[in-house]
Symmetry: C2
Subunit: 482 residues, 2 copies
């Protein structure tokens, strides 16, 4: 790396905030997508907006790419370094800058962990709603980049619903604010574009979050069904009634088996389990909960268990939260897929996954944010068996094709990152990708900010395959007819 | 206008769908901002997406600007024609294409009136939430362009919250879909950018709207206060409690006087009136309503009237809805301003407006979506008095400066359009305006789509004044520190 840039970075951050020793750099070679690894040329650890701006400016002037990174829990390689590039790590920016209970706003630096926000306001009867399962460690900066979801985003919306404003260091090192105190500002909704842009439009250094009152009551039930389709019909029936549960999670028999082996959560031993949670004012919650129970019974639930107290509820959630890690109990290796289908298309997709299990002679466990159609198939394999890892990856890719053919999406909450950039042309037409590229260039005309992520490039993806052509308006995102 | 373009437009639409006769063109010379008038060269009335695409293609090839128009109820001149340009009028595209009660989706053409959507699903227990006061005539296409609000958007969100997907004819005449069946699609949130873009990024020809169940119950009260500040404190106290009313509207003495003269709504004769409405499940609504009443009493309401039935509720709303038109009873002319302030800054802004009334020797009536800080000062004047119209306009402009100095915005729901494009540099820095311009160019590199709206140009605004520089993060929208 150019010595002038190294010197500029050293000036930009406090002593000890620049890492260039090869061994130390390896800590930053990947995020949660450990299959992709690139060692960066330098890592900086700024402590303020101005320091971030100085680092970005230095990179921009040298035309050296940079990648922002938080806790590194992302699952799509969004924080994967660029070879010969700089990683700007925001973990030293972990101050809660302002708590305004009356205005229901908390202002934080990007390195604050998701759960810390709720911790800071719980005593005042509030919390921060989006709850990715990594919430105890994942950072708000990463949540903004990925527009993170979580089990309770069905009712409360993804991160984008809760971000009121950000301070953004643009890719040329200027400091800008987007959003703020008032709703529906004039001009284009650039705040909405930045949330979920996976670190490609700049680096967020302050975030104003909306917090909400803790609901008066929470009620939770676990229902066992004889098949995933039966559980899926119950979900459709609940939603069709106009009920929006705080969460509806679904797990199949294999996932239940793994969870029971791992945490003994005492789940019903059925082909499918629904975990349904309602929250809100006590009176409303009681009557709606009774109605959900009735719907589950009418949908031929084999067993219904209602959490009698907080500890029983915690146990029900413990099973769900442990699901991914629990796979280790029944398989040496597994791959977590993340796809979306329209809620009503569960049955054909599950049939398709079952057929793929046969075809590839591999097992797939299904964990599902059923309310918003976000599917997490876990493809089980044994890495030490020759070729099985590749077969598992291929099967996982075929599941995405299945999601797309049903009008769904290649990712629900884990992002595109480096993992799925080459799959974007399956979902979007050339014309649509071109508009994405131009919007990106509006922020980053020099292409220095997290290049190679989100959008496919011939260099990364080789010859980009022809666009997938779904029926107009049946797809998520953008398709072009002409 | 070039005869080749006229011929291409004639081919693009059915017989009778092209207007070029000067007298007929005058119908389209302005929208609700009647002070701005430009006669276009041609008007086309397409009946399908493909016809719109053919019209746009023809304009694009000829590099002739075009402007989309619906019912023409907009108040900021967003549908003002461009001289020598084409108006693409969408009022013949008024089909409801699909009603999916179970999926809570309605797909409409852009010329469908806002209220027709609710009419189409009311029998099934649903409605479309955003309710601009022109909802019986204003069209969904215009609502999408302006990201329209309404009294009940405090609880339910602006149009952008309820638009799930659109079919967009891009400024070069291609047909694209944005959004669709699944939530949180990958790539940048272009749907969010298009909603509220005031017709500058293309023409929306189909819209998928989210509908919601009609609440079980609605409760409404009218509270009189001895001052606007007292009413403002009551609003803050309600919101601080975590209560989100369906609507909180505020009116001052002058507005009450006008309303009483016009519709005899039997409002309390106080210095300020709050109209508070709650909706939701019966049990929740009852307890929250009681709490709101208590808060208003503690905030020293002089009088509280609770609507006993639907007809009393309708009468309360009739007063509020008639407020703008009622000004005609107390003043020959009036100008409707639209600004936003942070909710807690009501008192100083009202003091400032009172001082301006003195300074300009004019009266201002205040109508206020108090919950979200959206102020509609009505500046009263007599057009036949020499210079009074200009003084009223100047006073209205000073009110916007006041909103900005309190960290607010130059428009809440009426849009920037041609009316306030030259005021944008008061709110946004040059750097921010540059990013807006580049995002616009990502969709419309040739500048043919509703040019001259939203963003200032030297040709329209003369020398653009230096940017207003608020404290970072205290403004709405975008400001740049460097």
């Amino acid at each position: 790396m150019d010595s002038g840039l190294v010197a500029a970075l050293a000036r930009a951050v406090p002593t000890g905030g620049l890492i260039t020793a090869p061994e130390a750099l390896r800590t930053y070679e990947c995020d949660g997508l450990t299959g992709h690894r690139v060692v960066p040329s330098a890592v900086v650890l700024p402590e303020s907006t101005d320091q971030v701006a100085a680092c970005v400016s230095a990179c921009h002037q040298a035309r050296v790419p940079f990648v922002a990174r938080g806790a590194g829990t992302g699952l799509s390689g969004g924080a994967l370094p660029v070879a010969d590039g700089v990683v700007i790590c925001l973990t030293r920016m972990r101050a809660i800058l302002d708590v305004d209970i009356q205005g229901q706003r908390v202002t934080v630096q990007p390195g604050v962990a998701n759960l810390q926000v709720s911790d800071a306001v719980r005593a005042n009867g509030h919390y921060y709603a989006p709850d990715p399962s990594s919430q105890s460690v994942c950072t708000i900066g990463g949540n903004v980049a990925e527009n993170s979801g979580g089990a309770h985003c069905l009712k409360y919306g993804f991160t984008t619903t809760h971000v009121v404003g950000v301070t953004l260091v643009t890719p040329d090192g200027r400091v800008t604010t987007l959003g703020g105190a008032v709703a529906d500002a004039p001009g284009y909704d650039l705040l909405g574009v930045v949330v979920g842009s996976e670190g490609t439009l700049g680096i967020v250094t302050e975030v104003i979050l909306n917090i909400i009152p803790i609901p008066e009551t929470v009620r939770t039930m676990l229902c066992g069904f004889a098949s995933m389709s039966a559980a899926g019909l119950a979900v459709s029936a609940i939603i069709a009634e106009g009920i929006t549960p705080a969460a509806i999670e679904m797990m199949d028999r294999l996932a239940i088996e793994a969870v029971e082996a791992a945490v003994h959560a005492d789940y019903p031993r059925c082909q499918a389990v629904l975990l349904v949670e309602l929250d809100g004012p006590r009176a409303e919650c009681a009557s709606t909960f009774a109605r959900v129970e009735e719907i589950c019974r009418q949908s031929e639930a084999q067993e219904i268990r209602v959490a009698a107290d907080a500890s029983q509820r915690a146990m029900m959630w413990r099973g769900r939260r442990a699901a991914f890690a629990a796979m280790g109990r029944i398989s040496p290796d597994y791959y977590v897929q993340d796809g979306v289908i329209p809620r009503g298309r569960l049955a054909p997709v599950l049939d398709g996954i079952a057929a793929l299990e046969q075809e590839y002679d591999l097992r797939v466990a299904n964990v599902f944010h059923a309310g918003d159609g976000n599917l997490h198939p876990l493809v089980l394999y044994t890495g030490s068996h020759h070729g099985e890892g590749d077969r598992a990856l291929e099967l996982a890719g075929r599941i995405l094709d299945l999601c797309l053919s049903e009008g769904g999406s290649i990712t629900g909450e884990h992002g595109v990152g480096s993992d799925k950039a080459c799959a974007m042309p399956k979902m979007f037409s050339e014309g649509a990708l071109e508009v994405f590229t131009r919007v990106r260039a509006a922020f980053d005309p020099d292409g220095v900010c997290n290049p190679g992520k989100v959008l496919p490039t011939p260099r990364l993806c080789g010859e980009v395959p022809g666009p997938y052509r779904p029926h107009p308006l049946e797809i998520a995102g953008v398709a072009t007819r002409m």
